[in-house]
């Protein structure tokens, strides 16, 4: 039994102050034989869950609290508040929420009035000044004078005053130091954090850092030596800890009850809605197996008392439907027939043979995880609806704790050490964002002297600070909703983003406490689909929904199998395009596999080629163990989906369901290094013992590691595959509507608008240029002839026009008879008029672009005049642009051209040199050497490709994929990194109908082409 409890302990979740992880503090407390430790982070409970989880493992107790900044007579004082009971904890969270609400982000100031109704809290006050006011507000029984002994010069006189004031007020004295790190060795890191927080270098930090290293977690012997003159004040810490019986496990979380129709129970209403939806889904006849599945799911939902959660998701989906917002559930929810019938997901799990247990199980008793994808442009409406419906106290977004990664660690620590900013920038450029170890040689390469003390400190401290929290951000869409106010569970802070509030815990904390989270995520593809459906209804009277898009369409699969998928959701990337002719999807399930297979998990686990060979019948379908046939049958004996990997762990490595679940969590928390690796030693020997070949066991483990980064569960792949199919179908049968919709949904997807326009043109879609009398803000469809439509580019594509210009143009009365009328009616400024003139929008008035520029610059002077505009005083005639220049101007003014491809102007010169176009390249034989010139539309260096960079080059006839080995890239680094127009000399490589040009050298073509054509989309 320990003889004291440290009551003032700040973890590294007291951002840029504490220098130890909560787990480290708990572990050290345990090692020192302390039975309890308080966690009192600055202005919050940020590190509490992590400490709680570790304390549960080790069997020690956490005293829950926080260091508050309290406003007493206009000055902020630090006071430690400790929660005695659940009620006390709720009051603490509430007070912190109020404190944050009145301050800017990252700061809290609690007022005494906020604590007026607070019960069951202890307050420890380390300074004499606010003692009297606190005593009046809280009474002496809840208040302690906190004596600290960090061996600083000013502490003793202050203690004297504090003790005198305590005596006078009848307050007990308690002894505890401010703990900022678990070990003395972290002092230097604490200094660095203090400097980062203050934005100063160590040499100029002055008193921003602590004067000595006495803020470590001390043993009882050390503390009792410090307080030898007053052991009673230490003993009192035990009394306090004893009375603070609150534990995070005491949080009884209840999901908000939906407003139920009178006479209905939650479960009954869910059942009714589910079967009502089932009748709709199955057109009045619910198949027996589906009915059975629904009954089974409802039974589990009832047992777990999760009905409220499903009803809430249903309500959100209903809100989206009623407001014309397209949404679709994904993730493991797609395994649920109830979700399917409620309209939350679009995948029929019974038909897809998906396992409900992946979503919910009585054994795991975890909250369900439903991610709802929403049209990205309208997600905020849904978020604000949730706030409005549940109230700001009952709904808040989950936090995303921004942690130090290798680059930010080197940059911030180096700055605090006073290193040259240029050297630091060079060093950070050499580091990869995902590196989790700082290699000292890299620092040397960056020009830092290897043995210099500063370099050694940089290496050591930047390594230590990795994964430390830096600041609180906001999760992309995670909501915490509660039956009771959320601010009684965790403090709520205002987020930087307007009208958003955020809790102090991230998704891992929320998961660990088994709290329910609703994920509302934005997805551009849904916006695109919605817009396309609207266009089809408007122009072709074709009414469609995701569920009514004709299924298993041959023509769509033909198109997809050719890799002709520019703009198609999920299967448009270079890697997907290269895979499609090999996999040749012919069914929806093939698309599900296609979506899942081009991922780092299957690629790193070397699962792709065996699958393709087996699919083509080139390799026998073998199962490493008969037990595995059931798991792997759908994917020809090759594990591709995340749940297959988990099932493998159970079946082949004898994992218990609990271990398999831990494996899933460890895969999800891939960044926390080491958590996956511990499964290697557990899993491989067990698989070998089961008679599974070592090579297969190794491969499965590699894949697990790969999944750690990015791997899809089957249900998730199926949800995405559905959107992939819908977008592919739209592109195949209504290319003009698809193009118009995707152009209006930008930014999204993989390609630039220029590439989308070129692709549409190559597929026979007429794309018409921006015209002030015909274009609307968005792109529109116009009648081309009696049976077809053309796309008219919208004014949104004119660079330099924004919301204000849109507001001026949209109410205008097009068509305008002349430029002067347009200028007068819209009152646009000179810059906007110039942009429109440059984009060729005034050609409808018979003006070439240069003349138009000259005119609008003259006319814009009279915009504010009440009288009709004067004609331009003197019209100088400028020469018209040549065709090639027109294209270049289009790109400069609107990032695309409907008039032609920039390469068309060069074709004659290129042909003269024997350089083929993309179509001709694809016709060349395997092994043939050639030169090719194209515009770079994409550079990509996947982490799985061992340094190979893939370029996608485009010309007026199509794409050429170029493979550039690392040595070739390094030899031509500048050209490779900067050229918009690239020449490649290389060899044709053909396999399974896929053509690649393997580069031997890269060069800058000496043909004239202005650089301001297209910018590539690069992913490094």
């Amino acid at each position: 039994m320990s003889a004291y409890v440290p009551l003032w302990v700040k973890s590294n979740h007291s951002f840029l102050e504490g220098a130890s992880f909560p787990e480290e503090l708990v572990e050290r407390a345990n090692a020192l034989g302390l039975s309890s430790i308080a966690i009192t982070d600055r202005d919050g409970v940020y590190g509490l869950v992590r400490a709680h989880m570790r304390a549960k493992d080790l069997g020690i107790r956490i005293v829950t609290g926080a260091q508050l900044s309290i406003d007493v007579e206009g000055r902020a004082h630090h006071v430690i508040a400790l929660a005695k009971t659940r009620r006390g904890y709720a009051d603490l969270c509430r007070a912190l929420s109020l404190g944050h609400a009145r301050c800017e982000k990252g700061i809290s100031l609690v007022e005494l009035a906020d604590l007026q109704e607070a019960q069951d809290l202890f307050f420890l006050c380390p300074t004499p000044e606010p003692l009297r006011a606190l005593c009046s507000a809280r009474g002496p029984s809840a208040l302690f004078a906190l004596c600290t002994r960090h061996l600083t010069e000013h502490e003793r006189p202050r203690e004297k005053l504090l003790r005198a004031a305590a005596r006078e007020l009848g307050i007990h004295v308690v002894g505890a130091n401010e703990v900022l790190y678990h070990d003395k060795a972290r002092r230097s890191l604490q200094d660095i954090l203090a400097c980062i927080r203050a934005g100063k270098a160590l040499s100029e930090a002055g008193r921003m850092t602590r004067p000595n290293a006495e803020h470590y977690l001390k043993s009882f012997d050390e503390v009792s030596h410090l307080f030898a003159d007053d052991p009673e004040c230490l003993r009192r810490t035990l009394d306090i800890a004893e009375q603070c019986s609150f534990n995070l496990d005491d949080i009884r979380y209840r999901y908000p009850e939906e407003h139920l129709p009178s006479g209905r129970t939650e479960q009954g209403w869910l059942r009714e809605l589910t079967f009502r939806g089932a009748l709709e889904r199955y057109r009045g006849k619910v198949p027996t197996d589906v009915r059975a599945q629904i009954e089974r799911e409802l039974q589990i939902i009832r047992e777990l008392d999760y009905g409220g959660y499903f009803l809430t998701m249903y309500e959100i989906v209903q809100y989206c439907r009623q407001n014309g917002i397209l949404c679709q559930g994904r993730g493991s929810a797609a395994n649920s027939a109830v979700c399917f019938c409620l309209g939350i997901t679009s995948i029929d799990p019974v038909r897809m043979d998906l396992l409900f247990e992946r979503f919910l199980s009585v054994e795991r008793a975890e909250p369900p995880d439903i991610d709802l994808d929403i049209e990205h442009e309208r997600r905020e409406e849904v978020i604000q609806h949730v706030y409005e419906k549940y109230g700001r106290r009952y709904a808040a977004m989950v936090a995303n704790i921004i942690r130090y990664r290798i680059r930010s660690a080197v940059r911030d620590v180096g700055k605090a050490l006073g290193l040259s900013r240029t050297d630091l920038e060079t060093a950070t450029r050499l580091l990869r964002h995902r590196d989790d170890v700082l290699n000292p040689e890299l620092l040397q390469e960056a020009g830092l002297e290897k043995d210099a003390p500063a370099t050694r400190h940089l290496w050591s401290l930047a390594s230590q600070v990795l994964d430390f929290p830096r600041h609180l951000s906001i999760h992309p869409g995670g909501f915490l909703l509660g039956h009771r106010p959320v601010d009684e569970i965790v403090p709520i802070e205002p987020a930087t983003m307007e009208a958003r509030t955020v809790i102090q815990w991230d998704k891992y904390d929320v998961d660990n406490l088994a709290l329910f989270k609703v994920d509302l995520l934005g997805l551009g593809a849904l916006t695109c689909i919605h817009r396309a459906f609207d266009l089809l209804e408007q122009h072709k009277s074709l009414s469609l929904e995701i569920a009514t898009v004709p299924a298993e369409d041959e023509a769509t699969y033909d198109m997809v199998s050719k890799g002709d998928t520019v703009g198609v959701f999920q299967i448009e990337s270079r890697a997907q395009m290269a895979m499609l002719p090999r996999l040749r999807p012919r069914t929806f399930y093939d698309l599900v596999i296609e979506v899942a297979i081009v991922r780092p998990g299957p690629i790193q686990g070397d699962m792709v080629h065996p699958y393709l060979r087996r699919r083509k019948g080139e390799e026998e379908i073998l199962y490493p163990h008969p037990k595995l046939e059931r798991i792997l049958r759908k994917t020809l004996g090759v594990p591709i989906f995340q749940e297959q990997v988990m099932k493998l762990a159970v079946e082949a490595a004898g994992y218990t369901p609990g271990e398999a679940d831990q494996l899933r969590r460890d895969m999800a928390a891939w960044r926390r290094s080491g958590r996956i690796e511990k499964h290697r030693t557990r899993m491989i020997p067990r698989m070998i013992a089961q008679g599974i070949p070592e090579e297969f066991a190794d491969r499965v483990f590699s894949q697990i590691r790969g999944f750690g980064e990015y791997g899809f569960p089957e249900s998730h792949a199926a949800s995405f595959a559905l959107l992939a199919y819908v977008t592919a179908w739209l592109r195949c049968h209504h290319h003009e509507a698809f193009t118009c919709a995707i152009l209006n949904s930008q930014p999204m997807g993989f390609y630039t608008p220029a590439t989308l326009v070129e692709d549409a043109k190559r597929h026979g879609v007429e794309v018409r240029p921006i015209d002030i009398n015909k274009s609307r803000w968005d792109c529109t469809l116009e009648e081309r002839d009696a049976s077809s439509l053309a796309v008219r580019m919208g004014l949104r594509y004119v660079k330099g026009l924004g919301v204000l210009e849109r507001q001026r143009i949209e109410p205008g009365q097009a068509p305008y008879p002349n430029l002067a009328t347009f200028v007068r009616q819209t009152g646009l400024n000179k810059k906007a008029l110039h942009a429109l003139a440059e984009a060729g929008a005034f050609e409808c008035f018979g003006l070439n672009r240069r003349d138009a520029i000259w005119q609008v610059r003259g006319l814009s002077r009279f915009v504010r005049d009440p009288l009709p505009l004067e004609p331009a005083s003197s019209q100088i005639s400028f020469s018209s642009l040549a065709n090639d220049d027109q294209v270049i101007w289009d790109y400069r003014a609107s990032d695309h051209s409907t008039r032609g491809h920039p390469m068309r102007g060069l074709r004659h010169a290129l042909e003269a040199r024997g350089i083929p176009n993309a179509t001709a390249v694809h016709r060349r034989a395997h092994g043939e050497e050639l030169d090719y010139v194209g515009m770079v539309i994409c550079r990509q260096r996947p982490g799985t490709a061992s340094g190979v960079t893939f370029f996608t080059l485009e010309d007026e006839t199509g794409f050429v994929n170029v493979v550039v080995w690392k040595r070739v890239f390094d030899r031509h680094a500048i050209v490779a990194k900067t050229a918009a127009l690239l020449g490649v000399t290389g060899e044709i490589q053909k396999a399974d109908g896929v053509t690649h040009l393997v580069a031997r050298s890269l060069w800058m073509p000496d043909v004239a082409l202005a650089e301001q054509t297209s910018r590539s989309r690069d992913f490094h």
Binding site: H150, L151, T152, E153, R187, S188, D191, L202, G206, R207, M208, T209, P211, N212, A213, E214, R411, L417, S420, R421, T422, E425, T426, R429, P453, A454, H457, H834, E838, R849, R850, I853, W854, R857, G858, R861, S873, S874, I876, F878, S879, A973, I974, V975, K977, T978, A979
Partner: protein, 493 residues
């Protein structure tokens, strides 16, 4: 017709940088506006341009593209300083030199010098050679119109002599507009209309340009109008006030030297007063017989025209100095400043505390004991006692900010400039306590107060104590943990 010439040092900031770092020759170089990650490139050399770097690019991006790129900042102050030096150099070739609003460009008036040099070409070649000998790249153009001559210099190297205004017009019209330092937006807007050279630009009516492209465009247009040509605005010679005189025979007697200096200073003051200025400091150079020149710097409390004050300062300084030989020549150089109103004000009511008297006293101390002899303590935020203040030389006396002496008596801690090591004692652990001299013993110790830090340079870890001796002295001492030794750091009284 009157001639005018333009001397242009193209890419002056880059040239300055290369003179500063000659070893960078042959490497791609960029001048940036800030050392940090957001620093942008503002000048590039040819090699860097060939590597596809562009002005405006962030230096981090550029270094990523071209790891061999050398980057540095050339400050505006540095450019101004060099420009001033260049003006002085060019004044060798013509008394009328004007720095123009284009980096590295100067107008030099060649009028009247043709005969002296044997023609304009020879004159211009002399300038070009002179600059080349000092590692400056330059273009020298002799023309007829100040702006057109500059335009020609922008596109030519070496020496260009334009024979007629027509030739000048023809050649300058070819100069690309982007070379005139116009804003990027204006350049782009004009380029969009196909206006890319000076000739294209001047073909557009000025009034139309103003209404459409603003003042910047019309100002450039107007600058080339033939009738608006301004004459050269020559840079004034900036001669410091200086006087020198011989001592014959050489003498080392300070009284006689001061007497001789009195007359010279009188003339110097006359000269300075005539400029409406006062003497801020004096540099005395005493050229000695068979010994190196002896130099002294004197600075009065404030700029002055008071002869006696200056003589007094000189007397005080020379009184403290032993000359290593007889003085054969005295040279006095005065740095001047504009005379302030106080210097001509009439004596009036003097406050009780005469700060100007204090300033004069401090000036006398400085004159007697050297420039750094008067210091004041500046408080600094630091944990280590010796780092928590710094002695800084000061020029001016300041009235104490403490209003009145506090009624509460407090002890004064007198801190030693350097802690004094106390005699070692075995075992040398802090528990053993410090040992003082034989006659003193410590009766009580209060502490410890721990100060540690400096781990990034030299680790300091001290346990401070207040110690009361049997004599009643209060000492302030510490145990230095890394050195395992006791030190006395101060006393209290």
């Amino acid at each position: 017709m009157k001639r005018i010439s333009c001397v242009l040092l193209p890419m002056l900031p880059l040239q300055i940088l290369l003179r500063r770092k000659p070893c960078w020759q042959g490497s791609p170089i960029a001048i940036i506006d800030d050392e940090g990650p957001h620093g942008r490139i503002i000048h590039l050399d040819v090699l860097a341009k060939k590597s596809r770097l562009r002005i405006g690019m962030r230096q981090t991006v550029a270094r990523d593209l071209l790891p061999t790129l050398r980057t540095a900042i050339v400050s505006n102050e540095e450019i101004s300083e060099i420009s001033a030096e260049l003006i002085t150099s060019l004044q060798t070739f013509s008394p009328r030199v004007e720095a123009i609003d284009h980096p590295g460009a100067f107008h030099v008036d060649p009028e009247g010098l043709r005969g002296l040099y044997g023609g304009y070409r020879n004159w211009a070649t002399c300038i070009h050679r002179y600059l080349r000998a000092r590692q400056w790249r330059s273009a020298v153009t002799v023309g007829f119109h100040r702006h057109r001559a500059l335009a020609v210099a922008m596109t030519h190297r070496g020496v260009t002599i334009l024979e007629s205004p027509e030739e000048e017009r023809e050649q300058s019209n070819e100069t690309p507009l982007r070379m005139f330092g116009l804003s990027g937006t204006l350049c782009e807007s004009l380029r969009a209309l196909g206006i890319e050279t000076l000739g294209d630009f001047l073909a557009v009516p000025s009034g139309e340009l103003h209404s459409r492209f603003g003042v910047e465009a019309s100002a450039l247009h107007d600058a080339f109008a033939e009738e608006l040509q301004l004459p050269i605005q020559p840079h004034a010679f900036d001669e410091p006030a200086r006087i020198s005189f011989q001592i014959d025979p050489p003498d080392e007697d300070q009284h006689r030297l001061l007497f001789a200096m009195k007359g010279a200073l009188h003339s110097l003051l006359h000269q300075v007063r005539a400029r409406g200025e006062a003497i801020q400091s004096l540099d005395l150079s005493l050229h000695l017989e068979r010994a190196p020149t002896h130099r002294e710097h004197l600075e009065p409390a404030s700029p002055t025209l008071d002869l006696m004050l200056l003589l007094e300062l000189a007397r005080l300084r020379l009184g403290e100095t032993t000359l290593r030989g007889a003085v054969e020549e005295v040279e006095i150089l005065a740095t001047t400043a504009h005379a302030r109103a106080e210097q001509v004000s009439l004596p009036g009511h003097q406050p009780h505390r005469d700060m100007s008297a204090a300033q004069r006293a401090l000036a006398r101390i400085r004159a007697a004991y050297g420039e750094r002899s008067v210091t004041m303590a500046r408080i600094r935020e630091a944990h280590l006692p010796e780092a928590s203040f710094r002695w800084e030389p000061t020029q001016h006396a300041r009235a104490s900010e403490r209003a009145a002496s506090s009624s509460v008596s407090s002890m004064i801690r007198r801190v030693y400039a350097k802690p004094k090591p106390l005699p070692p004692r075995e075992p040398n652990e802090p528990e053993a306590g410090p040992s003082l001299s034989k006659d003193h013993a410590i009766e009580h110790m209060y502490g410890p107060y721990r100060v540690s830090g400096g781990w990034w340079k030299r680790l300091v870890e001290r346990d401070y104590y207040y110690a009361e001796t049997d004599h009643g002295d209060l000492l302030w001492l510490f145990y230095d943990r890394p050195r395992k030794r006791w030190f006395l750091h101060g006393v209290l009284d």
